[in-house]
């Protein structure tokens, strides 16, 4: 973030900067809107819903409070200004805030510069990532003993649900939010996203969603886990309204983010940036964006129906009044399975994008890699009932879902093939981003192979719903997404923020995370096989040894994340070393730009004549400057 203040600010008193459409106004209007919504809600009466008086909570009021609170927040940030101006007949304009200087203030208001939004995403999601991680630490604290000792079962399940919802909701955008928003326009030679206001909108909506989820603790939490199955969800107390509000907002944000990225990639490519020259990271973003665009509306609709069930007594998901719990399970997983690939695919893209740089070779099998990304994206819509193998739903379709689930390992195998081809006979440099990519190879291998056991129905009967499943998806999501996220952080953040990370701390971070991660989740496969179901607050005393081991390892993961935070504070604030323009000697276009990247990105639009991996081809580009000890 630049310390240069905008010239206009110099003549005004400092406090004047607080007045206007910004985060502060947004928070104030959010509170006003919330109170207004609660008040409206108490005015609504009908014989069928008056039992609210008996149970001491009014879900209509709570949900309307969230709705108007979020609207107030967005209006306060200035999202209503442009539509209102257009309604009043003003001509269309673009990017109101790009000309308001480079000050730090633009990070706290509606800003349509894709680089600002990327950094807003990184910091904002990062905060919630650490909140979710802290929940995991508390969960593992409770599981140190086989009986209830720190939290009651209700608090425990709320922590489990918040951890899951935070990580599966907020973190869907953990790579697409910061890195796709920041990088995709640069990589395809555009100065902006296709819809810059929608881009900013997705970020602020996601932040509002995160706050809504946290407010569940004031309403007694929710006991459903992140999957929120009904009828249990309908039976839950008001904390479940926060879950509904949170996930519906996340769904809207995801859908718009995917829509925006897809539109950008299709329409905003510079001359010469053909589909076969697109960086593989952009392909992975496109494949993910398709999933977000098509899967997220299903989630929003599902949660809307659940909200109706809880408020105006519709009974979509209630057996006994014409509804069905299977309906919720189906709708949720039609969204939910594409969603786990929404979190996995960008990681594939980052690994394939970084391996060529650090093996000093072109990406091997570009077309196979693209086929792999699109294949995963396509197949992920046809596998959702493998979450319901023993549920009793449509049992004759199980062979089909077994086949479709196992077929997904084909395109995933393409990604491995391309990674393996790329490193072969390369000149491999063990930089920190490279280490995280190699960590992905190891973790995702075991995540994928344990998935084969879960996709085979006879094996799944015992492992379904146990810690085996939980270990499997932590291997794919934490071992896949989080490792590639950190690979991207160590690789691109020097460009984004203009400073270099302390390499020793970064290596400590990687090795402690890698070892503690495997030490945490590998034993959980065993815990599941030994008969420990998921989401239990108590377990047989014979499993205490394994649980203590896992908890201690999980605390080491927490410490390892602290090392990362220390590194950020150290490298950004205490001992700031500026980053040279291209420390990794990458041939990709974003590294050819100055650091920090100018507001307008390019003086003139670039023209592409090759893909970004011309390594080993001396004629392709001017040779990079000699190494200056950058690792």
């Amino acid at each position: 973030m630049s310390a240069i203040a905008a010239p206009a600010d110099a003549r005004r008193p400092a406090w004047r900067g607080l007045i206007g459409f910004n985060l502060l106004t947004g928070i104030v209007l959010a509170i006003v809107g919330y109170i207004f919504g609660r008040w409206i809600g108490t005015l609504i009466h009908a014989p069928s819903i008056d039992y609210f008086a008996d149970i001491g909570e009014n879900d209509i009021a709570i949900l309307l409070g969230y709705l108007f609170g979020v609207i107030g927040f967005l209006v306060g940030l200035g999202f209503a200004n442009y539509p209102i101006r257009r309604l009043l007949g003003h001509p269309p304009t673009l990017a109101e805030h790009e000309d308001e200087g480079l000050g730090i203030a633009r990070y706290f208001r509606l800003c349509t510069d894709h680089k600002v939004v990327g950094i807003q995403y990184m910091v904002g999601i990062g905060v919630f990532f650490f909140v979710g991680g802290l929940n995991a630490m508390l969960i593992r604290t409770e599981l140190l003993q086989p009986n209830v000792h720190v939290f009651g079962p209700n608090q425990y399940l709320t922590l489990v649900g918040m951890h899951g919802a935070m990580m599966m909701g907020m973190m869907t955008s953990v790579i697409l939010g910061p890195f796709a928003n920041w990088l995709v326009p640069l990589m395809i030679g555009s100065r902006r996203m296709a819809y810059p206001r929608i881009e900013a909108f997705t970020f602020w909506l996601l932040m509002a969603a995160g706050v809504v989820l946290v407010t569940t603790i004031f309403f007694g939490g929710f006991q459903t886990g992140w999957t929120g199955y009904t009828p249990l969800g309908i039976q839950n107390t008001a904390g479940y309204d926060a879950y509904i509000g949170f996930f519906a907002l996340v769904g809207v944000s995801m859908c718009l983010l995917g829509f925006n990225l897809l539109a950008t990639i299709i329409t905003m490519r510079a001359p010469g940036m053909t589909w076969s020259r697109l960086p593989i990271f952009v392909w992975s973003v496109a494949a993910t964006a398709v999933l977000m665009l098509l899967a997220a509306p299903m989630l929003v609709a599902t949660l809307l129906m659940a909200a109706f069930d809880r408020t105006i007594q519709t009974g979509f998901f209630l057996p006994g009044v014409g509804g069905s719990g299977f309906l919720f399970q189906n709708l949720f997983w039609v969204f939910g399975h594409p969603e786990v690939y929404i979190v996995a695919l960008p990681g594939f893209g980052i690994v394939l994008e970084l391996l060529p740089v650090f093996a000093r070779k072109p990406l091997w099998g570009y077309r196979v890699a693209v086929a792999g990304l699109l294949g995963v994206s396509f197949l992920s819509f046809f596998v959702w009932q493998h979450h319901l193998f023993v549920s009793g739903i449509n049992a004759d379709l199980r062979p089909f879902y077994m086949l479709s689930t196992e077929l997904i390992s084909l395109p995933t195998g393409f990604i491995f093939l391309c990674a393996m081809g790329t490193v072969w006979r390369g000149r491999i440099r063990f930089t920190v981003p490279m280490l995280f990519c190699l960590g992905w190879v190891f973790n995702f291998l075991f995540g994928g192979i344990s998935g084969v056991f879960l996709s085979d129905v006879p094996s799944d009967v015992t492992t379904h719903g146990t810690f085996f499943t939980m270990a499997h998806f932590h291997y794919t999501i934490m071992g896949g997404l989080v490792f590639t996220f950190f690979a991207a952080v160590y690789y691109w953040v020097p460009k984004m923020f203009g400073f270099r990370f302390n390499e020793r701390l970064a290596k400590i971070h990687f090795w402690s995370l890698f070892l503690a991660f495997n030490s945490t989740f590998a034993p959980l496969f065993a815990a599941g096989l030994l008969g420990m179901p998921r989401r239990v607050v108590t377990y047989p005393t014979s499993l205490q040894g394994i649980n203590i081991w896992v908890s201690v390892s999980a605390f080491v993961i927490g410490l390892s994340m602290l090392v990362f935070l220390v590194n950020v504070v150290w490298s950004l604030l205490i001992k700031r070393e500026p980053c040279e323009p291209n420390p990794w000697h990458s041939r990709s276009i974003e590294w050819q730009l100055p650091t920090p990247v100018p507001v307008n990105d390019f003086d003139e639009f670039p023209v592409f004549d090759a893909d970004p991996y011309p390594y080993g081809e001396p004629a392709a580009l001017p040779a990079p400057t000699p190494a200056t000890g950058a690792a």
């Binding site: 390992s409 190879v441 291998l445 015992t462």
Partner: protein, 281 residues
């Protein structure tokens, strides 16, 4: 200095590693894996696990050996020299063979799993109209119907063949085909009889059928395997497989003991539609 044949070396290391490690895993680890051999279906799951290990171990080893070799042999020894690797962008033959081999593995896995599943249902819940119906062991007296009724937060068992008595605990006879009819009175639960290899979700208003063929006398753990509310973690129990004579004694005793309760129960039914659910207070 002649360049060694790297690919041949990788293949040889992989072959040796696979020949040593795969049998170790298949013959030592896989048979010891839960749920064990407590029922015909549990043993069947063990067979599946062994087959999956036999196929996946060499695949995992191939990737691990390959990367270990590459990272050691092709590491950059002189980072300052800024040397680059060969500009190879793919190999049609390798790509084709990769697709053929992985597709063959995947399709055979899916075919194998389907055949195994359709043979006896593997102990999983199959819904109200099961397609995989195992045969009862010869001379065992036909299948025994047991209804598992889940509610927050316990399981009870109803026996249509014994006057519809509802028992708080579960005992099963040895060497008998058991037909579990799993249903729920409130939210979704999951009936998991761990050592029997049985798991079937309990849905309100649905009769979820799971088959299991018991073997010798044993105890088995029962857990709820689907989050069902605050006391989900405490929804567990122990069941017993006992000899046919002991079972007959037990069920007769239960029928006598709970006779007054049985009279006030609703008649035996595949599902019990509870009162329409509303929000809890």
């Amino acid at each position: 200095m002649t360049e060694p044949h790297h690919l041949r070396r990788v293949v040889v290391i992989w072959l040796i590693a696979s020949l040593i490690i795969t049998p170790l895993i298949c013959f030592l680890l896989a048979p010891a894996l839960p749920p064990g051999a407590g029922s015909v279906e549990a043993s069947g799951q063990g067979t599946d696990n062994t087959v999956l290990f036999a196929l996946s171990t060499p695949v995992a080893l191939a990737v691990l050996v390959y990367f270990a070799y590459v990272l050691v042999v092709f590491r950059e020894r002189d980072p300052a020299a800024m040397l680059e690797g060969p500009a190879v962008r793919g190999h049609a033959g390798i790509q084709l063979w990769w697709i053929v081999v992985t597709a063959a593995i995947v399709l055979s896995l899916a075919a194998y799993g389907s055949v195994r599943l359709l043979a006896d249902g593997a102990g999983g819940g199959q819904g109200p109209n099961p397609i995989a119906k195992p045969n009862a062991p010869a001379g065992s007296g036909g299948p025994l119907q047991v209804q598992v009724i889940a509610q927050q937060w316990r399981f009870t068992y109803r026996w249509p063949a014994y006057g519809g008595v509802e028992t708080p605990s579960l005992e099963l006879p040895t060497n008998r085909l058991i037909v579990f009819h799993v249903t729920s009175l409130d939210v979704i639960h999951s009936f998991w009889a761990y050592q029997l290899g049985v798991k079937a979700d309990a849905n309100p208003g649905l009769d979820n059928i799971a088959y299991v063929t018991t073997k010798g006398p044993m105890n088995f753990d029962i857990h709820c395997a689907e989050l069902c509310g605050v006391w989900h973690g405490y929804m567990f129990d122990t069941g017993h497989v006992v000899s046919s004579a002991d079972f007959a004694t037990w069920i007769a005793q239960q029928a006598r003991r709970f006779a007054p309760a049985t009279r006030s129960l609703p008649p035996y039914s595949k599902t019990y539609f509870p009162e329409p659910q509303r929000r809890a207070g």
